[in-house]
């Protein structure tokens, strides 16, 4: 079923690890996701992994071996950047733009790092945990004279 190996990779080793995995037969980059762990810092991580505020999660798929591998990279709060996978997997281009747009992680050397879902000129990155959802006050009781 949908089991996949999880690898925790240092940010400095990230590109090298993914390159090696690609050479091992992981032909497809299925998904790139970003998570902001601001309000959940105490998550379980293997020993030696220093938790960062952000995490970039990359799912690779080997069509030949029918296996998946999930790479989790810690990205610190003071420098939310990571190398792009574009030169290994051109398909990651739009997904990285989405992560940049919604979580605000910059992908270095990405050819076209612009917003993709939010409008140009939008301020902030909505999927960050300190991004306010906003609320509109709604009056539930009936207005005088009506109903």
């Amino acid at each position: 079923m949908n089991t996949s190996e999880v690898l925790h990779v240092e940010r400095s080793n990230y590109l090298a690890t993914v390159t090696e995995l690609k050479n091992q037969g992981y032909e497809m980059c299925v998904d790139v996701a970003g998570v902001d762990y601001l309000t959940h810092p105490g998550r379980e991580l293997p020993e030696g992994v220093v938790p960062g505020r952000y995490e970039v999660v990359v799912n690779l798929l080997s069509l030949g071996n029918r296996s998946r591998v999930r790479i989790r990279v810690q990205v610190p709060e003071d420098d939310p950047t990571i190398e792009t996978l574009f030169f290994l997997y051109p398909g990651s281009e739009a997904m990285e733009r989405e992560v940049y747009d919604l979580v605000g992680i910059r992908f270095q050397n990405h050819p076209d790092l612009t917003r993709i879902l939010m409008p140009e000129g939008w301020e902030g990155h909505p999927l960050r945990k300190d991004y306010s959802m906003g609320a509109v006050p709604i009056q539930f009781k009936s207005v005088n004279g009506a109903g």
Partner: protein
């Protein structure tokens, strides 16, 4: 622009403090326009990257910037197609650079339907979640609910009762039929066959009537929930399914007569929008697009979930990856789905339709009338939800459009800490520049249609 990006990457540490002060609101975003720029305004280095990014060609990354000729031609122009264009299946906008009638570069501009559903999911409990995700890909709602429920169940470590799993298989395969029939209809409409449009909707409506009988709604069912399904199949469901199984194959043969052998239709789709298997894999395309190139990859067969390992079906593949291949892959997938449904009807076991675990399952309606505890239980589960253990998981299933994945992080509370959906249309859409390149603009509509994008899911 590339250089600027690196600079801003370096100075990011200082700018980040300001950012934190204003609650992660940067005063001004400087990432530049999302639209396609004139070739003249694009430098050589940037253009070489653009061969990869805007054209998103796998081989583009090896282009030497010196080799690119920037031709200053009066013939070239950038036109904008959509987001209101009727053939763009919603609000897709394409910027195309044309040389006369020939398309050179294309850039899909999306986001017009972005409603922040991933953010919304963080505010809803795991029980409310399917109501939200079912609206993403509105043509295959069951697959959205399925992938969300499977991710939740994997975090909870639940084993489904047999019947629940078979009911899910049945509904998902029927849903694949409706989605592909809908595609046949809109594809026919795009290519000028309005009778196909009516036929496709007619057959789809027949299955939707069955959905309504089972779930209460034609679309956006919220039927598949963590722990099983919302309700058992109604009495006499076999008759309805058998009626579907009897009617649709004949209708599919009619489509064959109407479209497959028809020269006008073939003229529009043959050798149009070609993509190779290497390109499709490099661009992460899945589903009918990947299969149309001749690469047999179907999660139902290759990484079975539900009961797909217990039914017999074939994975349909094309040969050269043009619009016609994608048409025939979808048409024949309906036949394969019907084959699966026939087996499901035979094999449907008796038993529970949802897991009997008081933690995740609300009590049956009748119990609420007679038992105070059941009422309290019901109240608590619907107001507070159930807690899901800490962890993170990625689950993927084969939706009619390709691999739909759900990456879920739980922090141990009743709401997902982060829920990310890997939308197949979102990724498949990025193959359009490759498909359209070198073709003529009149073929663009056929190629867009053959990707089968559902904008609700592209933008989420």
């Amino acid at each position: 622009m590339l250089k600027k990006m690196n600079d801003s990457g370096k100075v990011d540490a200082s700018s980040h403090e300001e950012e934190a002060e204003s609650l992660a609101l940067v005063p001004e975003t400087s990432e530049g326009p999302q639209e396609l720029q004139e070739v003249e305004d694009t430098g050589r280095y940037e253009l070489s990257a653009e061969f990869g990014s805007t054209l998103r060609l796998p081989e583009g990354v090896d282009v030497d910037p010196g080799d690119i000729d920037i031709e200053f031609s009066d013939e070239k122009m950038i036109i904008n197609m959509g987001p209101q264009h009727p053939s763009t299946h919603g609000v897709l906008r394409l910027m195309m650079e044309l040389d006369g009638e020939v398309i050179l570069r294309t850039k899909p501009v999306v986001g017009y339907l972005h409603t922040g559903m991933e953010k919304t999911a963080e505010g809803l409990t795991f029980l409310q979640g399917p109501t939200n995700v079912t609206r993403m890909d509105y043509l295959s709602p069951f697959h959205n609910e399925l992938v969300f429920s499977m991710a939740t169940e994997q975090l909870l470590g639940l084993e489904l009762p047999d019947r629940a799993s078979w009911i899910r298989t049945l509904m998902c395969e029927l849903n694949r039929c409706t989605s592909h029939l809908m595609w046949m209809a809109t594809n026919g409409m795009d290519l000028g066959s309005s009778s196909m449009m009516i036929y496709g909707f007619r057959e789809r409506e027949m299955i939707l009537a069955f959905f309504e009988k089972v779930t209460g709604l034609r679309m956006n069912h919220n039927y598949i929930r963590p722990g099983g399904v919302a309700a058992d199949l109604p009495d006499g469901w076999e008759d309805d399914v058998l009626a579907i199984l009897e009617t649709i194959p004949g209708r599919l043969d009619e489509y064959d007569e109407l479209l497959t052998g028809q020269p006008i239709f073939r003229e529009r789709v043959d050798n149009v929008g070609i993509i190779t298997a290497e390109q499709a894999i490099a661009l992460s395309a899945t589903g009918p697009i990947l299969r149309s190139t001749g690469f047999a990859w179907d999660l139902r067969r290759d990484m079975p979930y539900l009961n797909y390992d217990q039914v017999e079906f074939d994975v349909i593949v094309g040969s050269i990856g043009d619009c016609f291949d994608r048409y025939s892959v979808r048409l024949n997938e309906i036949r394969e789905s019907l084959r699966i449904i026939a087996q499901v009807v035979e094999k449907m076991p008796a038993g529970d339709y949802k897991i009997q675990d008081k933690k995740v399952t609300p009590p049956p309606r009748v119990r609420i009338d007679e038992s105070m505890e059941a009422l309290i239980h019901h109240f608590k589960i619907y107001t507070e939800g159930f807690k899901v253990p800490e962890g993170e998981v990625y689950v993927a299933v084969e939706s009619p459009r390709g691999e739909i994945g759900c990456y879920m992080v739980s922090d141990g509370s009743a709401k997902p800490y982060r829920m990310h959906i890997r939308g197949p249309s979102f990724v498949n859409l990025q193959t359009l520049p490759t498909m359209l390149r070198g073709g003529i603009i009149a073929d663009a509509v056929a190629a867009i249609s053959s990707v089968d994008p559902v904008m609700g899911e592209v933008d989420r």
